[in-house]
Amino acid sequence: MELHQLTIHELQKLIRSQGIASSDIVKSVFSRIDAVEGNVHAYITLMKEYAFAEAAKADKDVKEGILKPLTGIPIALKDILCTKGFLTTCGSHILHNYVPPYDATVVQKLREAGAVFTGKTNMDEFAMGSSTETSYFGITRNPWDLERIPGGSSGGSAAAVAADECIASIGSDTGGSIRQPAALCGVVGMKPTYGRVSRFGLIAFASSLDQIGPFTKDVEDCAIMMNAIAGYDPRESTSVPLNVPDYTEFISRGIGGWKVGIPKEYFIEGIHPDIEKAMQRAITTVEGLGATCVEISLPHTEYCLAVYYIIAPAEASSNLARYDGVKYGFRPQGSIDLLDMYKKTRSAGFGAEVKRRIMIGTYALSSGYYDAYYKKASQVRALIKRDFTEAFTLCDAILTPTSPTPAFKIGEKMDDPLQMYLSDIFTISTNLAGIPGISVPCGFTKDGLPIGAQFLAGHFEEGKLIQIASAFEKYANIEKRRPAL
């Protein structure tokens, strides 16, 4: 095994007891990047020089006996997180040259935990997309099949972990942008409860839905990453001042006696047959662990997509207003007046999907339409949230497919936004309700593409998710495969 193939907890042991240096790990990761990045294109910006310098510092720390939770571990960041002094583009032309003057809280926390950043990963422009094809910086390919998309919007972060181009990574999830690419790339991805991980420094797409979370190679690493990034942040008003448990304590606790809800509305026509079969196996696995699977109902499921595609674009239309060419980022030459500058900047600076959502959102908030769209959507959102609250009185966790299909072909859905939006059909409700969700590998299609299973739990019950996902991971006996890159 090469160092870049290992997990955080495996590397921690090696650093602690075997005297493996962070510099060796970083070297291994960058040689892997050199070998496969040309095919995968997971990164927008590599921070090689910085990574080696940080690794050297980590090695010095280790020698002095300073061992932090992530000391010397190479981690990739989605290019939506602000990094002081390092390009942060959000996958957009309009921020193609933007270097933030500050670090996002999560970036700061990871630094404090000893992490070494490898670079900034590719993503759909402003996190709007499910395939990483809307990035201004080109597409990312799925390491399992280079003809296919890695999912999105955090496709770069998912692909980087799957291709061993980092040990773990950070993504963001507004409607499934961590869980869907995790499923499509065969890695673990968690979206924490809204308010659990600080959004400060996360470039906003839809403020009431956005949440930062980790991509890892296994569930134990997910717990380690969550320990590093979760917690109250006084710089964010929607951050919740609750104590954070040690998530690693939920590993191998077992789920004997649990009730696991299977929402009937999620097993619909149109699910890929191999995924349906994998889900049946997943149910068997969960029951094999001593839990009981019960059918539950989330009656407002059919409205999720509609509600999401009003609320998310409405918030985005306002959040993206600041990209006006005045202060930073892209501004074309030769404007004749202010209005002309705005028009030229935003017309050329944003891609088609971003413009589509800005227009939808602007319309939904317009005078005379607000009540019919935004207000109504907010009301239905409350019902969706209530569905989950009621469901969790009947079960400890919910099991669903993460995505209705495995990774699709590059370009397949680019001309059909509705088909693209359906990729997030099983993940969107989680964001609307604010609850946490995790996607874990649960097998492969006949064609060898990864399939993900999604577990959901109540607000601030990430521990339960770690508990059930780690038990599932251990017992499901998923075939260990690596993408043939």
Binding site: F200, T238, R322, K327
Partner: protein
């Protein structure tokens, strides 16, 4: 046809918090451009607002002082529009759920009191400033003011004349300054006003088409702009035309209002609740705490002064025009025990000195204790009122106590009968001609003798004693 103006005002007042509403940058005025900025108030990607609690408390104070109802829960909304001085592309304001509603203030007019309704008072952030280079085709953005807390006070359309509007504005101004939540400086823009004006035939219930007036940066300009706009609309209506609903800018140099944008160019601000901020919940305990922290307000104070100190309404008005002045006066009144006399000295000499030098009462060199002491010295006859007029000049100039000035200048009043009798006798002896005339019936010359005695004593003689002695001694053969 006689027309009646209908006026409603929107006042924006900058709050005197030390830091901005959503970040910890300084609110200080006049600093180097963009020196009081951070990623949050510059609207950098990824930043989030955190509300300054002081802003809520200051707004609650104004709401309580104007009899508004404070809503148990309120929230912030985004007002979306593009302008280079607005770095986020939206202003964080309050819309559907403001902090407070349904209040009023009473204004005093020649014809008596009138109550002006307040629709709402809400919190919001200020925008930045644009600086234009006349020699270059470029503009600069200064974001120091971005995020400075504002409250917007919206009145009901209750005012029926320019005078009422100005009186209302002055009343708000006075309350804000009294509460020490706004410095009230109109030139620097800490107190700004927009007006909605329409005309209707007297007796008509329906409102006419209104225009919105902006850019009036002094009370005088508000007066002039409203007068102009009322005349303009009257002319339009009298000539059988319709007033167009639009926003108009007051041009101070031309003395007229000019169309800025019409109804069809009005922005659709696309308000929606700001998802980055949580609702503000205000419980009774918090409201009570704020109520307790309110100072006595100008109108109450004025009435108390008239009642308790028996001073004329005009004087009470002057003395309560600022909290510091009222405090000064009350201190002098308390220490001297003579409120009416204290009022005369403060209104007369002290304010005259200060006004001449454009100084504030807070900088007055004559401390309230000194002034009270001087009043007592007059009362007990140590100095005369006339001497005091000179002494207070010295006190103001040097900041010394009256005792110190008196000692330095040897200004003790001569109240010793023996000493004065001697002087009076000398004066009479030295003026035989006048004496003869006086005795011959020319009683006016009494004053002449008083003057001579004063002159001989360098003004230090007790005037009452001079009178008594002169009367007695002039009558003697």
């Amino acid at each position: 046809m006689p027309y009646e103006p209908v006026i409603g005002l929107e006042v924006h007042a900058q709050l005197l918090t030390e830091t901005k509403i959503f970040c910890s940058c300084s609110t200080q005025f006049g600093a180097e451009p963009n020196s009081h900025t951070c990623p949050v108030c510059m609207g950098m990607p990824g930043v989030l607002p955190v509300l300054n609690r002081k802003v809520v408390e200051y707004t609650m104070k104004m709401a309580l002082a104007t009899h508004c109802r404070i809503n148990e829960a309120c929230n912030f909304a985004r007002k979306n529009y593009f302008y280079p001085d607005l770095p986020k592309g939206y202003q964080i304001s309050q819309y559907a759920q403001p902090l407070s509603e349904h209040g009023y203030v009473d204004i005093e007019l020649d014809g008596g009191k009138k109550r002006i309704g307040i629709t709402r008072i809400h919190m919001e952030e200020d925008a930045g400033k644009l600086l234009h280079d006349e020699h270059l085709p470029s503009s600069y953005v200064d974001l120091n003011r971005t995020g400075v807390p504002l409250i917007e006070i919206v009145s009901e359309p209750d005012m029926r004349s320019t005078d009422e509007a100005v009186a209302y504005l002055k009343r708000l101004h006075e309350i804000l300054v009294y509460l020490e939540i706004c410095d009230g400086n109109m030139e620097e823009g800490s107190f700004r006003c927009d007006a909605n004006v329409s005309l209707r035939p007297r007796g008509e219930m329906m409102f006419g088409t209104r225009t919105e007036l902006k850019n009036m940066n002094s009370f005088r300009n508000v007066q002039r702009a409203l007068d102009y706009e009322i005349k303009r609309q009257q002319y339009i209506l009298e000539s059988g035309q319709d007033v167009i609903q639009e926003t108009r800018l007051w041009d101070d140099s031309k003395g007229e209002t000019q169309s800025m944008r019409g109804k069809e160019e009005a922005h659709d601000y696309r308000y929606f609740p700001d998802p980055d901020l949580v609702p503000i919940v205000i419980d009774n305990a918090w409201t009570e705490e704020m109520k307790k922290s309110l100072p006595e307000l100008p109108l109450e104070k004025r009435e108390r002064f008239i009642r308790d100190y028996q001073i004329p309404p005009y004087d009470a008005g002057v003395l309560t025009s600022s909290r510091a002045l009222a405090g000064y006066f009350e201190e002098v009144a308390r220490l001297s025990g003579k409120p009416k006399i204290a009022s005369n000295w403060v209104m007369g000499d002290v304010l005259r000195f200060l006004n001449e030098e454009k100084r504030d009462i807070k900088e007055c060199p004559v401390l309230p204790g000194s002034l009270a002491e001087m009043i007592q010295l007059i009362e007990d006859g140590t100095i005369s009122g006339k001497m005091a007029k000179d002494i207070i000049v010295e006190m103001y100039r040097t900041g010394k106590s009256p005792q110190a000035v008196i000692e330095e200048k040897g200004m003790i009043q001569i109240t010793d009968e023996g000493t004065l009798e001697k002087t009076v006798a000398e004066v009479i002896a030295a003026n035989p001609t006048q004496l003869a005339q006086y005795r011959g019936g020319k009683e006016k010359l009494f004053g002449y003798f008083v003057g001579q005695v004063m002159k001989a004593t360098q003004g230090k003689a007790n005037p009452q004693l001079i009178n008594e002695l002169l009367k007695e001694m002039l009558a003697k053969e």
